[in-house]
């Protein structure tokens, strides 16, 4: 059984690209063999790094705000649901609007499909399907106390994309001391000098070793 305060934590640095989450999502009864999440290859030419893409469930969801058909709704528990079938017109506005790249358009059913954090499972005390199968626990469902006890990374839920602040329900694990993840697309343009904090070079590993050695 899950606790009342249990939350979803994502740590892409722990992802090993096994795609268990995608297959588990596919196997969920209500998804009818179609996965609502996907695996992202970060930079295939230079690294084996992958990242699971589950919905971050923004408090003010961009996908729902841009939907011209009023097909994306957020329930009281903060979960941003997948498209309402009868309303979705398959325009892909949400796909373009989401800063995390979560929604994807499925041409076969002419619908947008996105992760709904397995609200059908969490409402009856089960963890989301992907979190139950992730072997490296890059997708983790539990309490904040638990995740801070077993990890050196710390959860954040504040983001900024191109200067626009964003607060999410799902938490991202990152280096201790980071309060906000600031991403600007201009930093990734050819020839741009990144102003982004290089999280990988931060002291997370040193501090982690200190914790272990102590």
């Amino acid at each position: 059984m899950i606790g009342a305060d249990d939350q979803f934590f994502i740590d892409p640095s722990r992802c090993i690209g096994c795609e268990s989450c995608v297959l588990a999502c596919m196997e969920c009864d209500t998804h009818r063999g179609r996965s609502m999440i996907h695996l992202e290859f970060i930079d295939r030419s230079s690294t084996t790094q992958t990242g699971p893409v589950v919905c971050m469930h923004c408090e003010d969801p961009a996908c729902a705000k841009v939907c011209p058909a009023d097909a994306i709704k957020q329930t009281e528990d903060g979960i941003v649901h997948s498209s309402i079938k009868s309303r979705c017109i398959g325009c892909s506005n949400c796909v373009l609007a989401c800063p995390f790249g979560v929604p994807h358009y499925v041409a076969a059913i002419d619908q947008m499909v996105k992760c709904d954090m397995c609200f059908d499972r969490t409402s009856i005390g089960k963890k989301p399907m992907c979190a139950t199968v992730c072997p490296s626990q890059a997708l983790f469902f539990g309490s904040v106390e638990e995740v801070t006890r077993i990890r050196t990374e710390r959860p954040i839920q504040e983001f900024q994309f191109g200067g626009q602040p964003l607060r999410t329900k799902v938490k991202m694990m990152t280096a201790p001391g980071t309060e906000l993840m600031d991403v600007d697309i201009m930093d990734f343009m050819p020839g741009a000098e990144s102003t982004m904090v290089d999280i990988a070079a931060l002291s997370v590993w040193t501090e982690g070793m200190e914790v272990l050695n102590a």
Partner: protein
Amino acid sequence: MPDSVRWKEDFPVPSAEDSYATRREFTKFLGLTSVAFLAGTCAAVARKLWEQVTAKATTAVAVASLDEIPAGGSKLFRYPTENDACILLRLAPEKFVAFNQNCTHLNCPVHFEAESSQLVCPCHHGFFSAEDGKAVAGPPRRGLNALTVSLRDGQVWVQHDS
């Protein structure tokens, strides 16, 4: 853009607000639909009345020659427009009657039965007297609309009652 623009109120992101109807909105909806129904009924009545007024102005037309129908026979024709099916009956050698063919129950076409001298609606077994078009049995309560028949120049002429 301010968050208070009208379309954002109409298309809210939270699902609870999406399915929420205020009492004022519900009352407005009821009021407007009632007015729409009333207007629709008035329009339908006005149209019907107008059709009756214009139909009365139509002139008599010849629909058959005298020797075309045998006694006890019938002929279908359209009067006053192509959308109004009518039936002409020859009850006796010199007796012609004509009715609108639509049953007054649910508008099915009625057929002439010479043996019983009745017009029969096969849909729900409605029976009308062939003499004057009065409903005699079955669901219809109102008689068939009769047309005035006159014989001139070897032709049968029909006209709406004036």
